[in-house]
């Protein structure tokens, strides 16, 4: 594209120059010396300005390319910085607890050569807590590796209504215990979609799980599917839960962002889901207001372009 622009720009100037030169030659022939001199002057000037102009445009493009690259790089670094601090904080809390439990264990062991039954209970409790916190760290690192690994999608044709229904049934048993209804509104003749079924199942489960958490008790989760323009399929997950505030909406797909109390949930679910949907050539978006529930929409192409990143 750039070469063409370069070529087109030059073409303009060269033709202007040639025309002027032609005019000069014609005038010379008619022996209008003054006009001839003027035409020659114009020709000379246009050459010079052409070179100068083209050089300046090139330099500007070069600078813009540099700036673009720097911007992308600094955005990447900022993203990495945010991610790293998220990780550090998530891991630091369990570490602090582990450190403290070991201090307590030391303390208990200092007092008696043989721990009293109460001290024995305490010791066991502390050790159990350490195991729990180590597991918590393990979950975080595993989810992180999962997040970073970026599994390449393996494309198969899938019946999305069935795929979603399977996951809905998995969620339903627990949901009904909390009086949460799951309503289905599937488009009957939904076209089969070329996608990665297990990856998509992960996303669907994640959204259903979040919806169930948001509703807590006595509410509804509505799942609907429909075909929409441009050979796309829309999957909509609506819940009557607590909703998401405006400030949180911007960050909802960020890694480690979570509104759950400390220690519950790593905050990676939605960011992993977002990554998966992007890799499947689709889009995921959310609309929500506090107190009015949330609606997550997934758009997927029926036939994604092969070699999609």
């Amino acid at each position: 594209m750039r070469e063409f622009q370069y070529f087109a720009r030059n073409l303009y100037w060269y033709s202007a120059t040639i025309l002027t030169a032609g005019l000069f030659a014609a005038l010379w022939l008619i022996q209008e010396t003054a006009f001839a001199a003027a035409a020659l002057g114009i020709t000379f000037l246009s050459f010079v300005s052409n070179r100068a102009l083209t050089r300046r445009v090139e330099k500007a493009s070069e600078q813009k390319r540099h700036l673009d690259q720097q911007l992308i790089q600094s955005q990447k670094l900022a993203a990495i910085g945010e991610l790293s601090s998220g990780i550090a904080h998530e891991i630091n809390n369990p570490l602090a607890i582990i450190g403290q439990e070991t201090e307590w264990i030391w303390h208990l062991l200092k007092k008696d050569s043989l721990p009293s039954p109460e001290a024995d209970q305490e010791l066991r409790g502390s050790l159990q807590e350490i195991v729990r916190q180590v597991d918590r760290c393990k979950e975080i690192t595993h989810k992180l590796l999962d997040f970073a690994r970026k599994k390449e999608p393996l494309i198969q044709k899938a019946d999305l209504n069935k795929l979603i229904e399977d996951m809905a049934r998995l969620v339903e048993k627990e949901a009904t215990q909390n009086k949460i209804r799951i309503v289905r509104d599937y488009q009957q003749d939904l076209p089969r979609v070329e996608t990665d079924p297990p990856l998509l199942r992960q996303v669907v489960l994640n959204l259903l799980n979040n919806a169930a958490h948001a509703v807590e008790k006595d509410g509804t989760i509505t799942i609907s599917t429909q075909e929409s323009a441009n050979n796309t399929v829309e999957l909509v997950f609506r819940d009557t839960g607590c909703g998401i505030s405006k400030e949180h909406l911007d960050k909802i797909f960020d890694p480690f962002f979570t509104t759950k109390p400390t220690g519950k949930g790593t905050g990676l679910g939605l960011s992993i889901s977002h990554g998966i949907i992007t890799r499947l050539g689709g889009r995921i978006s959310v609309v929500s207001e506090v107190g009015k529930g949330a609606t997550f929409t997934i758009e997927l192409p029926v036939k994604p372009l092969r070699g999609e990143p």
Partner: protein, 142 residues
């Protein structure tokens, strides 16, 4: 170890504050624990504390905000901030708001105990000065 120091732990991780409370109590300190900045403010209104251990990152109200509020309630209470990360900006902010110091989490017990002790010393010194100032009769400007 001046065992009369009264300490309040403020941290959103339940297990953390439970075990810390056990450890501090075992070292002779009268200790209570709450799970949020708001609860800490309510608690401080109810009874006096000498030293408050305040976690900097908590949902709803963060540590720095809580520090400002707590100092309003009790000017002399010493607040030690517990943070997973140290930065110059945060340190300056803590000083500005009247915090005692910050400590990095995870923190070894002996370091924590030493800090609590020196904070308590500063508080008792300030309390003394305040008491003396109040005891001195002031000349009414009539």
């Amino acid at each position: 170890m001046p065992s009369s120091a009264k300490v309040l732990i403020v941290d959103d991780e339940e297990r953390f504050r439970i075990t810390l409370r056990k450890l501090l109590t075992a070292n002779g300190l009268e200790t209570n624990a709450v799970g949020s900045g708001r609860e800490a403010i309510e608690e401080l209104k109810q009874q006096p504390y000498d030293v408050i251990l305040l976690d900097v990152k908590m949902p709803e109200m963060d540590g720095i905000e809580a520090l400002a509020e707590l100092k309003k309630i009790s000017k002399n209470v010493e607040v030690i901030i517990l943070t997973g990360h140290a930065s110059v900006d945060v340190a300056v902010e803590i000083m500005r708001l009247g915090g005692y110091e910050y400590l990095l989490k995870p923190c070894p017990m002996d370091e924590l105990l030493a800090k609590i002790e020196s904070a308590y010393e500063r508080k008792t010194a300030r309390d003394e000065r305040l008491r003396k100032a109040e005891a001195t009769p002031t000349n009414p400007s009539s």
